[in-house]
Symmetry: C2
Subunit: 387 residues, 2 copies
Amino acid sequence: MAGQHFLFVPGPSNVPTRVLRAMAVPMEDHRSPTFPKLTLEVLNGLKKVFKTEKAYPILFPSSGTGCWEAALSNTLNPGDKVLVSRFGQFSHLWADMCVRLGFDTDIIEVEWGVGAPVEEYRHRLSQDKNHLIKAVLVCHNETATGVVSNIKAIRQVMDDLKHPALLMVDAVSSLGSIDFQMDAWGVDVCVSGSQKGLMLPAGMGVTCVSEKAIEASKHSRYPRCYFDYQDMLNNNAKGYFPYTPSIPMLYGLRESLRMIEEEGLDNILSRHERLAKGVRAAVTEGWKLSLCAAEAKWYSNSVSAIRVPEGVDAVKVIARAYQKYQLSLGAGLARLSGKVFRIGHLGDLNELMLMGAIAGAEMAMIDEGVKVERGSGVAAAMKVWQS
Amino acid sequence: MAGQHFLFVPGPSNVPTRVLRAMAVPMEDHRSPTFPKLTLEVLNGLKKVFKTEKAYPILFPSSGTGCWEAALSNTLNPGDKVLVSRFGQFSHLWADMCVRLGFDTDIIEVEWGVGAPVEEYRHRLSQDKNHLIKAVLVCHNETATGVVSNIKAIRQVMDDLKHPALLMVDAVSSLGSIDFQMDAWGVDVCVSGSQKGLMLPAGMGVTCVSEKAIEASKHSRYPRCYFDYQDMLNNNAKGYFPYTPSIPMLYGLRESLRMIEEEGLDNILSRHERLAKGVRAAVTEGWKLSLCAAEAKWYSNSVSAIRVPEGVDAVKVIARAYQKYQLSLGAGLARLSGKVFRIGHLGDLNELMLMGAIAGAEMAMIDEGVKVERGSGVAAAMKVWQS
């Protein structure tokens, strides 16, 4: 088919040509005397993206899922208690991993469409007089529902209660797209990946660990080897890795960090907010449909999950968009299958790219019998972006 | 510096331009209806490289180290006994991982420079009347010493004794370069990586598991999640992955498998043998130096570790080659540091590329005071390659 495919899943996001080109490098000796320059440049550059001066970025050849496992296996002891809330497929998968890895997992069940329940965290942590809870897990941006949570408020709860647990945050689909502040929010482990706001291909886990998390790792007896923080930090200090790193990804990351520096991280976050507002206007004002996110305070600036009307199968809308209009939309996951489709609006993106996606989703919906007015989504987004 | 860098570490190996180009793809939805075609093509293609019809290739976003961990954590129970031999830095690291992951690790210590001691495996397995040993680990090609081991003979020992342990083989630096036969040798888990004989960049773990290993994984209570075989196989069966795969690597692998198909795997193995013979002639007949590999039966066709004369520091030879001649040689690792340098001769390689490397190593040695005759290495290799 002619023309470009419109990729609007909430990750992998579109990789800029500059990054693709930067990754087309010959292989080299990752133990050479010049290699540390690359390693140290990307690790230092990442600190700005995490908004940290004190914590340590770590890169694993893995997906973000690997960084979830690293967070747990490095800092906890077998059977330790963790507190986590579940309000979408990705917060579910992290909670499920806690169970599978044998941790005593206290799961706060929350309606899908809202975010981390701050008062329920307060309640359960306040009951934990003996500090059996060793880690508090929160999904910053639930990719399945398009819901962002208030990490700062969770930190405040922990501070209010003087609870010593580690605060671990999944920022896979927020880092570089939605404001995230490692130091200011007192996050101990932030888990992310290459294929979202960092504008790289899938294939590298990107995480960041606080001094407190590193200290905990020294007392952890949980079995681990591949994902060991200490091996990584010991080698990283000299600019090397404990095993062969994903060399093209390091070059890609160097380039994407330069792009982030050029545009300015806060400008990028503002751009994501502006683009997201246009998409939400298309959904609610143009199409008169509902977002999965139940209230404005939960609206995610990197992904919107859109509920299709009763009687319409979102799976068919997505299939139509893919086959007829070369548009990849995100599917509804698990209990949302058939009920929602998702538009990812993160990474290397602008208004006109999104205009194509909004128009494509609109046509696919009309083809599948959804009653939306032609051009209404695009018009509503225009109104936001022109103001 | 002008001209191309000569990369002769034993991996990462040189990536063909065709593969680099194939990897420069826009991102896409890894859950799209067309994605399984790619997944299934590469998984099926890999079967030929492993020489298997029955076993299951698995791709992890990881390094080969991750596949080591997957082999152990999927098939064994906590504290299970494993038998492994150690004769170089990589067989050491795998044995060390067994210890770190809490397995009862019976290590056969062997002189560095020889390979897996078949009779000692026989001895220890024959003493294991109650079959407490659940896995037998062997490093097929010890990258640190340039030594290849006889996997078929280890299998024969296990069959002779009717020992039911799983046979796990590290073929990181042999797969696609030195003959490896998953089915014929009854290997249960083969561990490899992208950046050696498969001619891809570093960043993907490539492994292959037998039905017997999969069956063992069903009874394993070892905690795991990221590296779980069953999650992977369940998703792979439909052409998908349990989490975001490294998409560019899959396209690169598709291209490298096509190249392997075009040249023919057995022709590639013969090419590696011919090239390796030339390198060994340069070392022993030209330079009058010794290989780390103690006898001809241990000679590796993918890497040669070369002992420098007493009084010479191999670290300086390697630094000189890198800085003055744009040649990356492999360093001596651990106890071999300063005593050897290594020439990797694997992957996308031919005679004239190796001529450059041999000449470069020769000049660097002469610069550092090694008494070798100018042109002697190249001349000895010529004699082999012209015959």
